[in-house]
């Protein structure tokens, strides 16, 4: 059977596939934002040879529905008196010094928010029961309002879901999709749970249409959808739990890095994906990093997601001198239009322009030579700005990269140092279009000894989708004092979650004995309000203190500990494609791969630098800096003193001289 990984991006839809005879192929086609399925189906048609195939797909449909506010006309049902919690949110503003601040309007307008008289207390006891007549009336109102989707979130529903289940029953005859909060996210904190449930209700109908469209297009073949937790899920489940699919593209990148790193013997990675307008970073310490505190368009989404940190710094970031005389780079980007100066239209200096100015881009080979770079346009702009900054043009160009690198260094510090990790123990895994030009410099700043650039770095997300496990996450707030319970008691609490995991994964076609259940506890000291995720083993209390010490610098074994949530991650590993190894080089010499030579500036000095064609490098080839390695979708700069080696899978591993 053929398998195809498809990642829909802003500009291109990427495909990676393995045919029946074991051959690998890569394909890119322009995305079709008005109807993303068009590009996906067109590409599949192009790459597929046989009749039977499986598609694993990361889509931006759910994300875009929220960002563009084009989701379903959604109603929100909660306890009477709490209809506005989704508008009040946490009552704070995200910009402190904006006197005219406005928050994003909630996805459900006031006229579609309804309260029912019912209440459960903090122990799960029903204090006030639902009123049948009131429900009847509500059903009529929902009909009249022409709601398209319904989200339900009652206070403490995760302790006692009976009211949510009851209204679901009553809503059946409306024939509308209903999202219940205890099912989407069985955890405490009502605003976050409601927000996650509403997002699900808001995007699900659109996702359903999209997926049905694809299913029809691939005529009965298997379709799996990538989730933001780094695992894939069947198309049917993705239609009902669409909130789990937002941000699946970046998740694909992290999975790709994780799996390819593992194959090559690198289990601790800092991923670095630098694109045109922003840079995504994440930290992989033997496993995929998860977060439970994501946001989209200002709305909290508390389902587990791959923990990816984004900064507004990319190849298109614009450099300027601010009113106080400081050199700033980004977050404003020249985007695709007008783009950097060297693309022919732009008028503002970008990071890409600075790289070209210093000779680190090779115009003849940029995007396989298909895109002309106007080097001659740069001088005028650099001259002007250098004069204003009282710097030489060279200093300015290097300065722009210094500032851009500092912004990205800060992003990496947030995910490493801030969380108790030492970046020196990791390899910097670079992908995305612009990453290769900065990775070695960034590694030096952070004292990271090795940079890892995979083969095909431009389509890593699609690769990740091919390699992803099938994953389902479950959680439940239990709120127990650790000294009032024990391992065996907690084990019992896990049972219903385990059962759901096994049932759901078997429905995905995974055999019982191939299902792995990972169990975790969210723990904290009594009185704290953020939790640490601790693997559930007999020594969970000891582990909690250890992790607290690692993350926050101290632990106190005399303090009471509580268990807030229990979590199960059910994992099924489908058969994963194996990458082919590349031929051995006869010697480490790379004479045959050198396709040119040029002058490049490093540390203010011009150096004779070789240009190397990556496709001609073989297992064992050694590239000594200064060098520029070019390939179709990216350019990799090896500054002096760096040494790159090609491994058996074609990955380029650079030793960065760290002082």
């Amino acid at each position: 059977m053929e398998i195809i990984g498809v990642d829909t991006g802003g500009t291109f839809t990427d495909f990676i596939y393995k045919t029946v005879d074991g051959k690998w192929g890569v394909y890119k086609t322009l995305s079709t934002p008005h109807n993303p399925a068009e590009a996906v189906l067109k590409g599949i048609k192009h790459v597929v040879k046989g009749k039977e195939f499986r598609v694993i797909h990361g889509s931006t449909v759910a994300t875009n529905a929220i960002l563009e506010r084009k989701g379903a006309y959604t109603a929100f049902i909660t306890n009477k008196g709490f209809e506005d919690i989704i508008e009040i949110g946490r009552q704070n503003r995200s910009e402190l010094y904006n006197l005219f601040y406005r928050r994003n309007k909630p996805l459900v307008p006031k006229e579609l928010r309804f309260g029912l008289t019912c209440r459960v207390d903090s122990k799960g006891n029903v204090l006030v029961d639902l009123d049948e007549d009131e429900i009847e009336e509500l059903v009529k109102k929902l009909e009249e309002a022409e709601a398209e989707s319904i989200a339900v979130c009652f206070i403490f529903s995760y302790l006692n879901p009976e009211h949510e289940l009851k209204v679901e029953g009553s809503f059946k005859r409306l024939g509308l999709p209903v999202s219940l909060s205890h099912r989407i996210l069985s955890e405490f904190r009502e605003y976050e749970r409601a927000s996650t449930t509403i997002i699900n209700a808001y995007v699900a109908p659109k996702m359903k249409r999209y997926i049905n469209n694809l299913i029809e297009g691939i005529g009965g073949n298997e379709l799996r959808i990538m989730q933001s937790n780094g695992g894939s899920i069947s198309a049917e489940v993705a239609m009902n739990e669409s909130v789990r699919t937002i941000l699946s593209g970046p998740a694909g990148g992290a999975v790709g890095a994780f799996e390819i790193g593992k194959m090559a013997g690198f289990n601790r990675l800092i991923t670095f994906d630098m694109g045109g307008t922003s840079t995504d970073v994440s930290l992989i310490d033997n496993k995929l990093p998860l977060t439970f505190e994501s946001q989209i368009a200002g709305f909290p989404v508390k389902v587990p997601m791959i923990d990816i940190h984004t900064v507004g710094a990319g190849g298109g970031s614009i450099a300027y001198l601010d009113a106080g005389g400081s050199l700033k780079v980004g977050p404003e980007s020249a985007g695709a239009d007008p783009g950097p100066i060297c693309y022919g239209k732009g008028e503002k200096i970008t990071v890409t322009d600075a790289n070209l100015f210093l000779g680190r881009l090779v115009p003849e080979f940029f995007l396989g030579g298909n895109m002309k770079l106007a080097r001659d346009r740069l001088d005028r702009y650099f001259k002007e700005m250098a004069k204003e900054a009282k710097l030489s043009e060279l200093e300015l160009a290097e300065g722009i990269l210094t500032v851009a690198n500092a912004n990205m260094e800060r992003a990496i510090r947030v995910i490493s140092v801030d969380r108790g990790y030492d970046p020196r123990e990791f390899a910097l895994f670079s992908f995305g279009g612009a990453g290769g030009m900065h990775a070695a410099f960034l590694a030096r700043l952070l004292k990271i000894p090795k940079v890892f650039v995979p083969k095909n770095p431009g389509i890593l997300s699609a690769i990740g989708m091919l390699l992803a496990d099938i994953v389902k996450d479950y959680s439940l707030t239990v709120m127990l004092k650790a000294d009032e319970t024990n391992y065996d008691e907690i084990k019992v609490l896990f049972e219903p979650l385990d059962e759901s995991g096994i049932k759901d994964l078997m429905a995905e076609g995974i055999e019982r004995d191939k299902i792995v259940l990972e169990r975790y506890l969210d723990m904290r000291y009594v009185g704290q309000s953020y939790e640490i995720v601790v693997p559930f083993k007999e020594n969970y209390i000891e582990q909690f203190h250890k992790l607290h010490e690692r993350n926050y610098g101290y632990a106190d074994e005399s303090k009471r500990v509580e268990i807030v949530n229990i979590r199960v991650r059910a994992i099924g590993s489908p058969e994963k494609p194996v990458f082919e190894k590349i031929p051995n080089a006869k010697s480490s010499s790379i004479e045959d791969a050198i396709i040119g030579e040029k002058q490049v500036i490093f540390d203010s000095v011009e150096k004779k630098t070789k240009i190397v064609d990556r496709d001609r490098l073989l297992f064992g080839s050694v590239v000594e800096g200064p060098a520029i390695v070019v390939e179709y979708s990216s350019t990799i700069v090896l500054p002096p003193k760096c040494v790159g080696r090609i491994d058996e899978f074609g990955n380029l591993i650079i030793d960065v001289e760290v002082d």
Partner: protein, 523 residues
């Protein structure tokens, strides 16, 4: 050394990242929901003179007052490596007693004196005094809690146990306090470590040079901002409802003079300090000034000493905006600070109308509830502030049910509240129609209704219950807030500031003010 625009930007990035990392550490390790869920704290770096270099954007009311704390802390002590000074004395650099600051020096090899300082301030849910939550309706500071002069809490890397014991013995929830102190100490350790790394990489001279240059940088931008305002003298007055004891209509008066690229704010015609707890110490007034002018700057500049250089703040000692010992000050920080902002914005509305909104709710609606939790038999202390309406502006409506100006703390989730305290929340909603009507309407306030599941003492410290937030250019005023106690069928309207013993089953309902409208409404 010559200023390099590249390094200027790099250091801007570095310093603010250090103060943010301190904040991450504090937020994650603190114990009380007040600090963690609500993020009522600030972190900053100071130079060897105690001038602020960078402060993470946390809580504006701490802006101008942090440097005064640090200056007091270093005045009395020869700090050595591994020492940390704690203080909360409002007359020695503090603001009000619950805000406790911990200061530490950054040393490099061979330095006898600190080369930099790091400090953080957190609002503690209880520091003793006459009512739980330590936000009492007091008439002298002695009723408000334990007064901590600058003292070494950590000496040579070791906690001063007798001092800690003394502090913990004077508060209602010692376990929580101890956890929070440790989190504050850790935050400073994080800051010290990061500063040392930066100094090691760039040399002390360079780091110092750029710390000073960043102050010059902020000063340049601030001067430009002020320079764009038309020269003149702009006068505005507004009032506090009362002091909770007897005085009403407490006046805050401002003569704002803009001349070239400098501003002088003269508050000396404001009323005398009062018996109740709404007195503001000078540091608070300074914070309010800094907040407003920082908001006028369009760019993202470091909030440091340079911002204040072109600004002079004149007050009269012993007045409501510059109280002297032993005035009661618990509410000055939270309530009077908001009114000072209203007055500054009011004056600026004559100078740069296109950039100034109508008055926002002008209060933080402080609610403190304390007692014994019948479920556990343990004492509890709950403190929270409530959002309200923001003022409308020349371009649009004001936001509803949100914190404005001097605070930005989060609410406590209902489910977290009911787990932790003997409360049942009966309603949490937007108070529709409370925003001032106008072409652009003021934002609406909110309504929070809490039923007590056990007897408890309730203290409310609020404002704008009598006098409403002003509208501008013909926009109507926002509606005043209301404090209501419901016992059975009996609804009792309470004043802006009160303490009451409530019985199990009683309901406290707080309705917060709306923001002012902007422009006359179209018919």
């Amino acid at each position: 050394m010559k200023v390099n625009p590249i390094l200027l930007e790099v250091f801007k990035n570095k310093f603010s990242s250090v103060s943010e990392e301190m904040g991450v550490s504090l937020n994650r390790t603190a114990f009380s929901p007040n600090i963690k869920e609500r993020r009522d704290f600030s972190c900053a770096i100071f130079d060897e003179n105690g001038d602020i270099v960078a402060q993470a954007a946390h809580i504006p009311v701490h802006l101008g007052s942090m440097p005064m704390s640090v200056k007091e802390a270093i005045r009395g002590f020869k700090l050595k490596e591994g020492d940390m000074v704690i203080l909360n004395d409002p007359f020695k650099g503090g603001t009000h007693l619950p805000d406790i600051t911990i200061v530490a020096g950054v040393f490099v090899e061979g330095s006898e004196k600190p080369v930099f300082y790091v400090a953080n301030r957190a609002h503690h849910a209880d520091v003793g005094g006459m009512s739980s939550g330590s936000m009492p309706l007091s008439n002298s500071i002695f009723q408000e809690g334990i007064i901590i002069p600058p003292l070494k809490l950590v000496e040579g890397g070791k906690i001063n146990e007798p001092l800690l014991k003394l502090l913990l013995n004077n508060v209602r929830t010692p376990y929580e306090r101890e956890g929070d102190f440790k989190a504050q100490i850790m935050a400073n350790i994080t800051g010290i470590k990061r500063m040392k790394e930066i100094i090691e990489k760039y040399s002390l001279d360079t780091v110092r040079f750029y710390a000073k240059e960043l102050m010059n940088y902020s000063e340049r931008i601030m001067r430009k901002t002020i320079g764009d305002i038309e020269d003149g003298v702009y006068t505005f007055e507004d009032y506090l409802d009362d002091d909770g004891v007897s005085r009403q209509n407490i006046k805050i008066h401002l003569d704002l003079t803009i001349k070239g690229n400098e501003a002088v704010l003269d508050f000396s015609k404001s009323d005398d300090q009062v018996d109740g707890s709404v007195n503001a110490v000078y540091a608070i007034t300074l914070s309010a000034v800094l907040y407003v002018f920082r908001s006028l700057v369009g760019e993202d500049i470091p909030t440091n000493m340079g911002c204040l250089r072109p600004i002079k703040v004149k007050t009269r000692k012993g007045s409501i905006v510059d109280a002297k010992f032993p005035a009661a000050v618990a509410g000055g920080n939270v309530e009077t600070s908001q009114r000072v902002v209203d007055v500054i914005l009011g004056a600026l509305s004559f100078a740069v109308p296109e950039r100034i909104p109508a008055a926002s709710q002008g209060t933080m609606n402080n609610v403190a509830i304390g007692g014994i939790d019948p479920r556990s038999g343990e004492p509890f202390a709950y403190y929270e502030t409530l959002g309200g309406g923001m003022g409308a502006n020349p371009y649009g409506h004001g936001e509803s049910a949100i914190h404005s100006h001097m605070t930005n703390t989060l609410n406590t989730p209902i489910e977290a509240l009911e787990y932790s305290y003997p409360f049942m929340v009966r309603g949490y909603s937007i108070r529709y129609g409370s925003g001032g009507i106008g072409k652009f309407c003021g934002g609406d306030g909110l309504i929070r209704e809490i039923e007590l599941l056990g007897d408890a003492e309730v203290t409310v410290l609020s404002e704008r219950r009598r006098l409403s937030p002003y509208g501008l250019k013909g926009g109507e005023n926002g509606r005043q807030g209301r404090n209501v106690i419901i016992s059975g069928s009996d609804e009792k309207f309470m004043p802006s500031k009160f303490t009451a013993r409530l019985k199990r089953g009683d309901i406290l309902r707080i309705e917060t003010p709306g923001g002012g409208g902007y422009f006359k409404p179209k018919n």
